[in-house]
């Protein structure tokens, strides 16, 4: 009774802490990539020009001196330029000289208005007035789903990079439709693009955008507006790329310390326990010898393959596979962070966690486009929810892979897991509900779920993106420690996973049980990372898939009864339990002598 009460008290405390702390998420800083005023420079500043840069305007920030360069002519002095910056609230303000600090809430988006020149651009002999602007989208949190428009009256011609692949063109604060825009890429190739009815330039590859390009537009024969646009590129294996891993390393370091602490505490507790006293004598923690089951399952191999592929696609896929393009219209529900711009397809977690902005994706200027994208988003998300469901958790989710790898690491170190009993599982349910409430509702209170999301630091850092981590970073530590001791710890409380499981009956993949073949040995229940009890207690219903089921196939793998559990795809069995397979590791050698099987010392 006492234990139960303390359990309830702890759960209540955790839930309250989650709710309250979410509102102060930004105050808990795990890692912040600094942006200091002294770190941005432009030509004319004394001797600070890096030797490799041939152009005259560049922005840099941070200790590593990240640069963005523009193909400009020399001879522009700092006093001739006005630099505008954008704050997180969408407010545009001017930055005065090198000494003026960049505000804390800066998004890292800058536009430098360069001096107006007279040049003969079209070669007709008469010089035109050329307005030059240099725009840079820099720094951590460069991903912003809504396009970040400055809307400065001083900058009539503006380009905005949106939705990972489109360039939106504004002229005098209005959308510029059906206009010819000359785009000069970094390598000097010139091409004329025509903006569509939404004012978008389509067809520019992400690579071209990231290398930097110049777009020019002439509203009449005497005026040319040019904007030099550069989005911060994140090339692999550079200083910047490795710097991006710093928060991840901190998380792993903290998690490692936490794991050791948990082990030590547990050893102390075990010593006091009469039953485990024998065990703690020498066998708690790291001990030698494990049991290795010698059954090979193609199905589980495929699952691991899929998980690794999923992680790869959602971390590096966009950049490596498809020239930087991303399947932006299709959202596939896995828990990978959209702050990584190289995802192969969109993930719905951002918009589900920011429901109010779902139909304001491109700002208020594009009601139709917003609607189309919103509907597309909902349709593809719902399609995946309904027809695929949580099989994506088991087979594709990068967060799932991280947890599975932590579990494998634990097994490798021969450390005892924390067994989730049905009681503990029941206690975790309220925590899940708090996450769901925060996930769907936090945006309505003005909060940002990304600040408390424990998965923000993983795929982004791996992809080389600088991400500031707040409270979520600490939750990531907890998640890692949890998944080290409890298989798929996060999945038990994952809010999106729960939503995905709601349509279990319509899923193409189904987990089925032949109740007449079950002996209730409970192997499936113990193997289940989600601790679904009904799978072994069920005696009537054929469909045993619950909201929590990840379709990972562990239960089928560990089931010793012929065809008691099976996974079907559109009614066809793809994987089923078999006694022969289960016991195949024990098969005697030909001469009938028993050979003591595989083990590890």
């Amino acid at each position: 009774m006492k234990v139960r009460k303390t359990g309830v008290v702890i759960v209540c405390a955790v839930c309250t802490f989650l709710m309250v702390s979410a509102f102060f998420a930004k105050s808990f800083v795990l890692y912040d990539f600094h942006m200091e005023a002294s770190d941005y420079e432009y030509s004319g500043a004394k001797g600070a020009k890096p030797p490799s840069v041939e152009t005259n305007v560049w922005f840099s920030y941070g200790q590593s001196g990240r640069l963005l360069q523009y193909g400009l002519d020399s001879g522009i002095r700092a006093e001739d330029m006005t630099v505008y910056a954008l704050s997180q609230t969408g407010e545009s303000y001017t930055v005065q000289g090198n000494e003026d600090p960049i505000r804390r809430d800066s998004l890292g988006y800058f536009i430098a208005a360069l001096p107006v020149t007279e040049q003969d651009m079209d070669g007709d002999g008469a010089p035109e007035t050329v307005y030059d602007y240099a725009r840079a989208d820099l720094g951590p949190n460069a991903f912003n789903p809504a396009p970040q428009k400055f809307g400065e009256p001083d900058i009539p011609f503006e380009l905005v990079f949106a939705e990972r692949k489109y360039i939106m063109v504004y002229y005098e604060n209005e959308i510029l439709t059906d206009a010819e825009i000359l785009v000069t890429s970094h390598s000097g190739d010139k091409e004329v693009y025509r903006t569509d009815e939404h004012g978008w330039i389509r067809g520019l590859a992400n690579r071209e955008i990231r290398e930097g390009f110049t777009a020019s537009y002439s509203p009449d024969s005497d005026t040319v507006y040019r904007m030099h646009y550069a989005l911060e590129d994140y090339p692999y294996f550079t200083e910047h790329f490795f710097a991006a891993h710093i928060p991840l390393l901190i998380i792993f370091l903290l998690a490692g310390i936490g794991m050791i602490a948990v082990c030590l505490i547990r050893n102390q507790l075990a010593k006091k326990d009469p039953a485990y006293a024998v065990y703690s004598r020498e066998r708690v923690g790291i001990y030698s010898g494990t049991w290795k089951q010698k059954t090979n399952s193609k199905f589980l191999f495929i699952r691991w393959l899929c998980l690794f592929t999923g992680m790869f696609l959602w971390t590096y896929g966009g950049k490596l596979i498809h020239q930087g393009q991303v399947l932006n219209e299709i959202s596939i529900p896995v828990f990978s962070c959209p702050f990584n711009l190289d995802q192969v397809a969109e993930v719905p977690c951002y918009y589900l966690a920011h429901l109010p902005s779902l139909f304001h994706r491109f700002g208020d200027d594009f009601p139709v486009r917003n609607m189309v994208y919103g509907v597309m988003f909902l349709a593809t998300t719902l399609f995946c929810f309904i027809f695929l469901g949580r099989i994506l958790c088991g087979f594709l989710c990068p967060a799932g892979l991280i947890q599975d790898l932590m579990d494998k690491l634990r097994q490798l170190l021969h450390i005892r897991p924390i067994v989730v009993t049905d009681k503990l599982n029941r206690l975790l349910q309220p925590v899940k509900w708090v996450w769901i409430i925060l996930f769907l509702g936090f945006a309505f209170t003005g909060g940002d779920f990304c600040d408390i999301c424990p998965l923000k630091g993983f795929t982004t850092a791996q992809g080389g993106y600088w991400t500031n981590l707040y409270l979520g970073g600490f939750f990531a530590v907890v998640m890692l420690i949890g998944s080290f001791f409890i298989k798929r710890f996060w999945c038990i409380i994952c809010p999106m996973g729960y939503l995905m499981g709601l349509f279990k009956r319509f899923n193409l993949f189904q987990l089925k049980k032949d109740c007449t073949a079950c002996t209730e040995c409970g192997a499936c229940y113990h193997a289940c990372p989600m601790r679904i009890k009904s799978i072994y207690t069920e005696r009537e219903e054929e469909h045993v898939q619950t909201v929590d089921c990840l379709m990972c196939g562990e239960c089928i793998h560990k089931c010793p009864e012929d065809h008691a559990l099976s996974m079907t795809l559109c009614g066809k069995t793809v994987f089923q339990s078999s006694r022969q397979t289960f016991l195949s590791g024990y098969a005697a050698t030909e001469n009938g002598t028993a050979e003591i099987g595989e083990r590890e010392d």
Binding site: Q293, K423, A517, A523
Partner: protein
């Protein structure tokens, strides 16, 4: 050790004479059934060694110097093998030991318990006396009191088995009991139980289970490839043979079954009634029920008894490959799938029997109740109801450890087999019409 005063040399001699005679007669009757596979000889030899030759079990045994006695199927034999000892299941069907145990145990207690008590008192069966330790799960009332009563003559470790098993906390109780057992076994054998030795233990039993799972495939064949009584003897021999040897012999038996299958050499006729025996344990030499069934022209197609298939059927499913993971796997394996009626909710037994009925193409069920075996008797009613719905005839036969009821049993079983035959005939005719 007060109990021993009551037995003297003369009593022992008488006991040995009588007991070996009964055992031999049953052994011969079993062997006389048609279609005895040659590969079953080592199993019959093992039973003969224990009950007739009264041999020392450790003779010729180099690996296991100690024997640990167990009383129910809830004791993980893997754990005992991990301690480098051999488990011996002491549940016995000896009529002679029963009559001795009768003096120490109340009249209404079950004969199996009396037989075990009898062996404890008479000290004439080396297989029993050799056990330096008896692990006695606290299951039914009779076994519970037996554990207490045997304490005067034997070193007993009672192991608490939770009567409920649905909640994880219940399994946790049993896990703690198993952990408690570890140092006791280590002390007894002088060997350390490590993760490695546990894995070896699982392998030893796993191999036996693998061979049995293969054997079960042959047993399911209709017409039968092997007599059920012989299977009962084979399964009973598992109690007294080290698992490795049993596995090797079983492998040979499987090879023989395979060749029988290929030659289409059946022991029964096509329309022989296939009967399942369930209920109280059928322990050698008390194999009169299977014998009667098969002597009367039935075929014992399957059995759901703890001295038969149940003890070995479910494999250990190790989820986490560490020491704790293996212990947990034992705790789960030895309670959850166990269909022993001592558990409060035992509905899974009906499902299990239904499964067997389907897989073994069973036509009738003989529900065996040892006199005084309340827990099994309790479940008869629900069985009758369930199988009545399925139109599978079921008969309750109550027996005791003596030969006085044989004739009565013979008549009832014969009638039951005739009933199945008639039913099949009627069905057949109806089908033809």
């Amino acid at each position: 050790m007060a109990g021993r005063i009551h037995t003297n040399e003369r009593q022992r001699e008488l006991f040995i004479k009588k007991s070996t005679r009964v055992a031999r007669s049953y052994l011969n009757r079993a062997k006389a059934l048609p279609g005895l596979p040659d590969a079953t000889n080592p199993f019959f030899d093992a039973l003969e060694d224990v009950y007739i030759e009264l041999k020392d079990l450790s003779e010729g045994e180099s690996k296991y110097k100690k024997s640990i006695g167990t009383l129910c199927v809830m004791v993980p034999s893997e754990l005992i093998y991990a301690a480098k000892a051999r488990p011996v299941r002491l549940c016995s069907g000896s009529y002679t030991a029963y009559s001795i145990g009768d003096d120490y145990i109340p009249r209404d207690a079950c004969p199996l318990v009396k037989a075990v008590m009898g062996f404890g008192q008479i000290q004439a069966l080396p297989a029993f006396d050799q056990c330096s330790l008896i692990v006695a799960p606290v299951t039914c009332d009779c076994k519970k009191k037996l554990a207490g009563a045997l304490e005067t003559v034997k070193n007993i470790v009672p192991v608490h088995v939770p009567p409920l098993k649905r909640e994880d906390a219940d399994i946790e109780i049993f896990l703690r009991e198993l952990y408690r057992l570890v140092p006791i076994l280590e002390e007894e054998t002088g060997e350390k139980i490590t993760a490695r030795s546990l894995a070896e233990g699982i392998c030893i039993v796993g191999k036996a289970q693998y061979e049995m799972s293969r054997f079960l495939k042959y047993r399911k064949h209709d017409p039968a490839l092997v007599q059920g009584t012989h299977v009962m003897a084979v399964m009973n021999a598992y109690s007294y043979m080290p698992a490795e040897r049993w596995t090797t012999c079983m492998h040979r038996l499987n090879l023989e079954m395979e060749s029988r299958l290929q030659k289409q050499q059946f022991v029964g006729k096509a329309k022989q009634p296939r009967i399942l025996v369930t209920g109280s344990p059928i322990a050698f030499p008390n194999i009169k029920i299977p014998l009667l069934i098969e002597e009367m022209g039935g075929i014992l197609a399957a059995d759901e008894t703890c001295m038969g298939e149940r003890g070995l059927y479910d494999p250990v499913s190790v989820i986490d490959p560490g020491f704790d993971g293996m212990m947990r796997a034992f705790a789960s394996r030895y309670t959850k799938p166990c269909t022993c009626p001592v558990f409060v909710d035992n509905s899974q037994r009906i499902y299990r029997i239904k499964q067997m009925v389907r897989e073994h193409k069973v036509q009738g069920i003989v529900y065996h109740v040892l006199r005084g075996c309340l827990v099994y008797d309790y479940e008869y009613q629900i069985m009758e109801e369930e199988f009545g719905k399925m139109d599978i005839p079921i008969i309750r036969v109550e027996s005791d450890y003596n030969e006085e009821d044989v004739e009565q049993l013979r008549i009832r079983i014969e009638a039951f087999i005739e009933l199945i035959k008639l039913k099949e005939y009627a069905k057949h005719k109806k089908g033809r019409r």
